[in-house]
């Protein structure tokens, strides 16, 4: 075994220098051929660089659009749509490509994100020049495509998506329970809007898609509660333990 005359220690690992003082070694008769540890490989985190790049460029894009919108102002706040879309793409997009997160959670987040984005686009594009009173008077007309059609159909699509995922991976049902439950509760928002429309203010045009989305959400919730009550109780028990 090699020996360091300065430190007076034997050196078991293969190397030309003493690992302690970096001085020369006295080579032993039976020289150790042992590499005690695997060779160094430089670690490169490509994903991190990509994520940092997007995180820097997203606020820059938003800032440029807001600036152009202000400089060329014609009463139309189009930069708000860009800002919401970029924010959505930035936050939800990065989350989508994160390998460690579950498909159910990703679908839930996209379902909520896309619904919100469509509502924002609808209101910004439909009412650029209206006063507040005009806006309230024409609310049901303005919100027609987002609240009547876009949001309910988006929620139906994503609830259906999670249901398909569950059916194709039944053994992983437990992993989807909370995401599906949360999305189904969000899916009852159209029902709340129907109630407001019927009993308070006129906010919806056609009720068809809202009824479909609420019914589908309720149906999915009932299927869970009827066919997997223990699983749901257990999942809620562990998720909400204090």
């Amino acid at each position: 075994m090699d020996y360091c005359p300065e430190c007076k220690v034997h050196v078991a690992s293969r190397g030309d220098k003493c690992p302690l003082c970096q001085g020369s070694l006295k080579i032993g008769k039976e020289r150790s051929n042992k590499q005690s540890f695997p060779s160094f490989i430089k670690f490169k985190n490509q994903r991190k660089k990509w994520a940092v790049g997007i995180s820097i460029s997203a606020p820059i894009i938003i800032a440029i659009c807001v600036l152009i919108n202000i400089l060329t102002w014609n009463g139309f706040l189009w930069s708000l749509i860009v800002a919401v879309a970029v924010l959505y793409a930035w936050l939800v997009g990065l989350y989508t490509f994160r390998k460690t997160d579950h498909l159910g959670q990703k679908l839930m987040l996209h379902g909520i994100g896309i619904s919100a984005l469509l509502v924002v686009i609808n209101f910004v594009t439909a009412s650029p020049t209206m006063t507040d009173s005009q806006f309230l008077e024409n609310f049901s007309e303005i919100a027609k495509w987002s609240l009547d059609y876009a949001m309910p159909s988006t929620l139906i699509a994503f609830i259906l998506g999670i249901n398909i995922a569950i059916l194709s991976q039944r053994h992983r049902l437990r992993d989807y329970v909370i995401a599906q439950f949360s999305l189904c509760v969000i899916g009852l928002i159209p029902f709340v809007l129907i109630m407001i429309d019927v009993f308070a203010f006129d906010i919806l045009g056609s009720l068809f898609m809202s009824i479909a989305a609420s019914s589908f959400s309720l149906f999915t919730l009932l299927v869970f509660v009827i066919f997997a009550p223990k699983l749901i109780a257990k999942e809620f028990g562990r998720r909400f333990h204090i």
Binding site: M1, C7, K8, V9, H10, V11, A12, S13, G15, K17, P19, L20, C21, Q22, K34, S36, F37, P38, S39, F40, I41, K42, F43, N45, K99, T100, R238, R239, F240, H241, I242
Partner: protein, 431 residues
């Protein structure tokens, strides 16, 4: 008395008191991962090791889990995926790549004749990890065809796991007595230049005769842990004495295995951190340092003070407002608490696991053990000590490029008349 066995339908566990903070503290510089390795006398066969690892699933259910986010706390959930043994990585105790590791919080590696286990601290402490590694190596050797007898020193995969092994022993021994806050004075921190972020840590292992060291410690009327703490403290004064202008206090953080004080068979965390604090005005007088270290040990390791410290740690967990605070709010608070009360309060961290006992039939196939601590960027050195078959392995894992501290420490051991054999990953040359 017959041991209570676990309910097999149980597929999730609460994190124990000590484990709760670690998920909030992970970052690239602080993996909260520690490592044990067993060096066999023959090359490791990865395929047999893989089979042995899969055999461990039913025996150690709380290891084969993933960490999930609850609304209020993290929790452990059974992971039905398959863990894979891997060739050893050059970066020891790196942050676990969850996706690549099938969401398991431990990894079993092989390298030549070595089987190593890297574990995230929320799963278990040193005692639990070394118990798991011993069982894994035992099963590996059994699968290799060796006739072994466990002699009651190894948990074998044929046995049923008991309920006691999964208990949170902090809950068992905490009391509702009034307690005072545990204040650790801020020590001198080693500020030498660090390795680049994410590129791993330097490791130097030193092997020596444990009986000789034990005899030397005995001459100084101290235990081996007290003696090594004093020697490390002296080394800090020798190497960094000139830089200790504002603060000349040296704190060594020592995890205490509470199973030695309170009866427990738990394989989860049951460790408490204790600080040996020395303020030596003469900066390097060994007898004075040893006196102060022994004083710290005698004051800090009484049953009363330990229970008091457990109570302090349990206080947050018992507080209803804290319990009902959502995790997304609690997490940053725990991260800040970890930064305030973590590595910044330690000059060094040292853990002496003690003597590993193996059945004779198994010991014939084993050379020695290694133990590498988890340490964060603020605490420059982590020193893991483990003894097997009269060989004490002192593993120094360091964040700093410089090896002067390790050099001085091992030279001090040599000066005591000990024969030391060292090995290194030569990180200072490559990283």
């Amino acid at each position: 008395m017959k041991k209570k066995t676990i309910d097999k339908s149980q597929d999730w566990y609460r994190l124990d008191n000590a484990a709760k903070i670690y998920p909030a503290m992970i970052n690239k510089r602080n993996s909260c991962v520690f490592r044990f390795a067993i060096n066999l006398k023959e090359e490791v066969d990865p395929q047999i090791l893989q089979k042995a690892l899969l055999d461990m699933r039913s025996r150690f259910p709380a290891m084969f889990v993933r960490i999930r986010h609850g609304v209020f706390w993290y929790y452990l959930e059974e992971n039905k995926k398959t863990p894979r043994v891997r060739p050893e990585d050059s970066r020891i105790n790196k942050t676990i790549d969850l996706y690549g590791n099938n969401y398991f919080r431990f990894t079993v590696f092989y390298y030549r004749n070595r089987i190593s286990l890297e574990v995230f601290h929320s799963l278990t402490d040193g005692t639990g990890a070394v118990t798991f590694l011993k069982s894994l190596a035992y099963r590996y050797l059994e699968r290799k065809g060796y006739k072994l007898n466990d002699e009651g020193k190894v948990l074998t995969f044929h046995q049923e796991p008991s309920l006691d092994e999964l208990e949170d022993s902090f809950l068992k021994y905490t009391t509702k007595d009034p307690h005072k806050r545990y204040v650790v004075p801020k020590p001198f921190n080693i500020k030498d230049s660090r390795f680049p972020s994410g590129q791993g840590r330097g490791v130097i292992n030193g092997r020596l005769d444990s009986t000789k060291l034990h005899n030397i410690a005995k001459k100084h009327q101290s235990t081996v842990t007290e003696f090594l703490s004093a020697l490390l403290t002296q080394t800090v004064y020798e190497v960094y004495g000139e830089r200790m202008i504002k603060n000349n206090r040296v704190n060594i953080c020592l995890p205490i295995n509470l199973r030695r004080i309170f009866p427990s068979s738990s394989l989860r965390n049951f460790t408490l951190f204790f600080h040996s604090t020395v303020k030596d005005e003469k900066r390097g007088d060994f007898e004075e340092i040893l006196r102060q270290v022994k004083n710290s040990f005698s004051q800090g390791l009484t049953k009363e003070s330990i229970i008091e410290n457990i109570n302090v740690n349990m206080q947050a967990e018992r507080n209803m407002a804290m319990r009902l605070t959502p995790l997304f709010i609690k997490k940053p608070a725990m991260t800040i608490a970890g930064m305030m009360y973590g590595g910044i309060l330690n000059t060094l961290t040292m853990s002496n696991i003690g003597i590993v006992e193996l059945p004779q039939s198994m010991a014939e196939h084993v050379q020695d053990f290694e133990f590498n601590l988890s340490n964060d960027i603020n605490c420059a050195y982590g020193i893991g000590v483990i003894t097997f078959n009269n060989i004490m392995t002192i593993s120094m894992i360091r964040e700093t490029r410089d090896t002067v501290f390790s050099m001085q420490f091992f030279r001090n051991l040599v000066k005591l008349g000990l024969e030391v054999e060292v090995e290194s990953n030569y990180w200072e040359e490559v990283a």
